[in-house]
Symmetry: C2
DNA sequence: GTACAATATGGACATTGTCAAGATAGAATG
DNA sequence: CATTCTATCTTGACAATGTCCATATTGTAC
């Protein structure tokens, strides 16, 4: 490769990484449907069947890409929680939710493959586990809300389903462009704030 | 065709419908990634390039399939609202939300193509319009909640984003299997009820 | 009945995923 | 250093697909 003069031309050096980068490029340019092993190989400057040695087949490449995405997601949520450690519990949750939606908006390619590609996680143990860790993090946070008395009478599972669905729905509808179509020109921040604040409207209602 | 003795063999009679049905079959059997014009044509008993005359290209076929799905969605939400006309406003919303999630669970093939196929709606005016009608319905319902004094101080847009995201998130995470992975073996009904009831937990909180 | 539009066929071509066989480089071992 | 082993990459092949084109058949309007 021209950009890697120290290495030999035959062995790429870090083809796996280069292919994952190419996948990101392709999706951002032409959508997830246009991802192909051959195009990724082309962009990485290797032959059409080189990717097979690293990822098996096309689905394997996408699985690796998705796993990368779940790693990112876990990271940003953990960071967000740490950054809001001094705030009230509910605002910590809000910070985590914002991080979730913002990751989707910043890495739409990863988010698409993670949740919109019909990937069968059970076929990829490593991906499955990474995703589970991500999901478990959210579940633990809502369980904390109950355990620490913020919602003493709530079912932790229901709370997890509620919070996760809300945040995930915001993310996918935003990435899809559907929210913009209905709400007009609003910033993502403004939409997140508004939606996450909505439950407090119920403070005036009778349960 | 053998199953349509009255019609000529050359002209199918209702190929468009048959192709849409085939798409549904294929997605349920092998996932949205396995949809192909040729396979759909095969199932409809026509030549490989017959579908082009009805839908242009593959994307056009999926666009028509998605439009069918948005039609269904509008239908079930309208029906749900009518069926809950006598109940309090909030329970009407809940009924609409349930209909939304249940449609996704019952027609996962349509739901996938509607929201998980990366279809560019702006390229298909008819699809675009049908989707807009569906989304506008939800927006109007949340606006009603504000106008009729259920949440007098709320921003209707924020409320729409909140409700739609919650319901849509439930739908996609359920269809994806992610919710089941975290919550274990719960029925869809139970999960919906729990998640939709969660906002009332905030009744005890200070806004 | 004739002309025209809609519908369907068959062939062709480029692209893709995948497989098998072989080539090249790096690392380990002597 | 020479040898062997393994990981990495290339080349060639094949079937399947999307799409275009020319052609054939049917339904319809006049």
């Amino acid at each position: 490769m021209a950009e890697n003069p120290g290495k030999s031309a035959y062995h790429h050096g870090d083809l796996a990484t280069a292919l994952l980068f190419a996948v990101d490029e392709i999706i951002r340019e032409k959508g997830v449907g246009s991802v192909s092993l051959r195009e990724a190989a082309r962009r990485a400057g290797v032959s059409h069947s080189a990717p097979a040695h690293h990822f098996g087949d096309k689905e394997g490449l996408l699985a690796a890409f998705a796993e990368q995405g779940f790693g990112h997601l876990s990271e940003v949520m953990t960071t967000a929680m740490a950054g809001a450690a001094d705030l009230p519990q509910l605002e910590q949750m809000s910070a985590i939710g914002k991080a979730y939606v913002k990751l989707a908006a910043e890495y739409p390619a990863h988010f698409d493959v993670m949740f919109r590609s019909g990937l069968d996680k059970s076929k990829y143990p490593s991906l499955h586990q990474t995703a589970e860790i991500t999901f478990a993090f959210l579940h633990e946070r809502t369980s904390d809300l109950v355990a620490q008395g913020v919602f003493p009478d709530a079912n932790p599972d229901d709370l997890a389903a509620f919070f996760w669905s809300l945040v995930h729905g915001l993310a996918v509808l935003w990435v899809d462009g559907s929210l913009q179509a209905v709400l007009g020109d609003r910033t993502l921040d403004s939409v997140i704030e508004g939606a996450l604040a909505a439950p407090s409207l119920f403070a005036g209602e009778q349960p």
